[in-house]
Symmetry: C2
Subunit: 374 residues, 2 copies
């Protein structure tokens, strides 16, 4: 079964003829976002290790690497398996703790397929399992000790636990102590810049103290990794991290558009990830119905925002699994363009990214790691 939009590649106006709903990437905005973050990271002296949980796509990842990224992050082992052979990928970090009967072995099996495989741990049990898997497989795994930024989602609770786990890792066969991670997820979407600076700093306090103590113990962490699109402009000033895990900047969703990303207020990033949908019913006075609902947009955050095909300011409302309303008198069969509300879980609904240049469909990129949360 070939994709019903494949025949439209290269056709002028093909974007308007897409089988909908379609996940669309504005090529110019996407390329500008990649260049802007690469430049910002370079200027700040931080290494950039983009988080691929956002896009789950080799074609996107390869372009981030070509622009100077030192490697990639993924959240899950399944994503690592799906993206391990991304062109140009030399270092891959799995940012969630890995546990269970099969996951440590799956991680170890990947290590021989890449220059550097890094994986997070926040418990003795997790580190010990990685050690056993590495020894059984005959590889060395780089283990990054995760530090809780204060939200208690993952990570060691405080410097004592962090230092102890790092020392344990350093002594386990098959493992190399590769550094510390601290991802302040709660700081990323604080809309006010100055508040975000304060919260970001607080979140990194335990990481900074742990790194200092480990250095004094002769176990200096090779990398200190964390940060996101919400704090990319702050991290250099805080002076703690050595590398940045930002992901959403490539797409810029409705959520991040509400965040004042830089001190001056200007955002270096543009909305690049869109959904093209179609009016499929128009029998009422107040709105028309489009073919995109809960199965086409993430529903954990704000609503999708209409940015094309309808008068400025037209509102979208969910109408169940398959449909949505646009409050505008649109023609039956016409297409509407919406910015995605929260990019990561929206991408996870689609198998292909439709790359567009204006109204021309230029490529279909498979989303190789879609659904690979395991």
């Amino acid at each position: 079964m070939t994709h019903p939009n494949a025949h439209l590649i290269g056709q002028q106006g093909g974007r308007r003829a897409l089988a909908t709903p379609a996940l669309v990437l504005d090529k110019a905005a996407f390329e500008a976002n990649i260049a802007a973050m690469a430049a910002a990271a370079k200027a700040s002296g931080l290494a950039l290790r983009p988080h691929a949980k956002t896009h789950k796509c080799k074609s996107v990842a390869a372009r981030q690497l070509a622009a100077g990224a030192v490697g990639l992050c993924v959240a899950k082992t399944g994503e690592a398996e799906a993206l391990i052979d991304t062109p140009g990928l030399k270092s891959l970090l799995i940012t969630s703790p890995v546990l269970g009967p099969s996951a440590p072995n799956r991680v170890a099996a990947l290590a021989s397929r890449i220059d550097e495989l890094l994986v997070v741990a926040d418990s003795d049990l997790g580190a010990d399992a990685l050690s056993r898997a590495a020894v059984a497989t005959g590889v060395t795994l780089g283990v990054v000790v995760d530090v809780d930024p204060g939200i208690h989602r993952t990570g060691c609770a405080g410097p004592d636990a962090t230092v102890a786990l790092a020392q344990r890792v350093a002594g386990l066969p098959g493992l190399r102590f590769a550094g510390l991670q601290c991802y302040a997820g709660h700081a990323q979407h604080i809309e006010d810049y100055e508040t975000r600076v304060v919260i970001g700093q607080m979140a990194l306090a335990d990481l900074a103290e742990s790194a200092a103590r480990l250095t004094a113990l002769g176990l200096a962490p090779p990398i200190l990794t964390g940060g996101g699109t919400g704090t990319f402009a702050i991290e250099a000033g805080l002076g703690v991290l050595t590398e940045l895990q930002a992901g959403s900047y490539v797409f810029m969703d409705v959520e991040y558009d509400a965040v004042v990303l830089t001190q001056g207020g200007a955002s270096p990033f543009q909305p690049a990830l869109l959904v093209e949908a179609r009016v499929i019913s128009a029998n009422t006075a107040d709105f028309v119905t489009i073919d995109a609902g809960f199965k086409s947009f993430a529903t954990d955050g704000p609503k999708p925002v209409v940015i094309g095909g309808a008068p400025a300011g037209s509102e979208y409302a969910f109408m169940g699994d398959e449909h949505g309303a646009i409050f505008a008198p649109l023609a039956l069969g016409s297409t509407v363009t919406l910015q995605v509300p929260h990019c990561d879980p929206t991408v996870n609904l689609y198998d292909f990214i439709h790359v567009v240049d204006g109204d021309t469909l230029v490529d279909l990129w498979p989303i190789e790691a879609r659904g690979r949360s395991y």
Copy 2:
């Protein structure tokens, strides 16, 4: 890349060793649900045409057909393409209007692969496009005219518009007038039974009047299709529909568990669709972190409900894209079983259903139509 859980099929206790999160189907509950709805439909004299937008899976569909279903519903053309060769499938209804440059042709291309292909229309433009596609392809399409139940999502507005479109369809080349549809989505989740009877009746008033007028005009609708899991026990008493489109009954999610499905209050259906997740971090006093968040559960409705692996009444809370909290002191690496909040958009996140019999994994069923909203 084979599925990391494939090697566990048939192993005693394999369910506890799954790579997680995994979408799990309790075989006994699932089979009981299929049998219960088949029996209820038979007793009521209504034909059963289960909605496959719920499960998107040939293996589930084939079992519904084997139990006596007259055919299937799908919401979208892409689902029809993915499920067209389901064993035992003789009649397939696409329940949303089909518009755009390619969709009518894609529908027509399917007609020769099945005994009966039915598709909904609610506009002249839509019916005309189907007629052109059918003529160009050399097939006959059965068109079901959609009637608005009062929520203005899709459907003709009132009996005048419905009768006029049915007459138009009957006169167009390549089309056959196949009946009327009225799906009262807003009635399905009203938790009180008596209120649901009243709303259900009101929603079908335009369908009933349209059917009577068409019959008087010599254009009796061959089928009157609609209803859902929320109204399955009501429809026979209302005496309007000839067939029932229920879908969620096969799985029973948290949402439908809150609905009093029958007059006596007893539900003939059991929770069958579950997510198996794993504790991957346990460094805080109040809760543990599992590996299932926004990418593993639908977020449009209630929260997932913990039903195994933790003390009764333990609560789940979302902790972002990849993680959730369970408020219980669980062991690191242990598994937790959760009932899915809203089944349709949850299934749409996964590529495989893990069929379990107790603690044994007995099969992996591909979810062929996952993501095919286009």
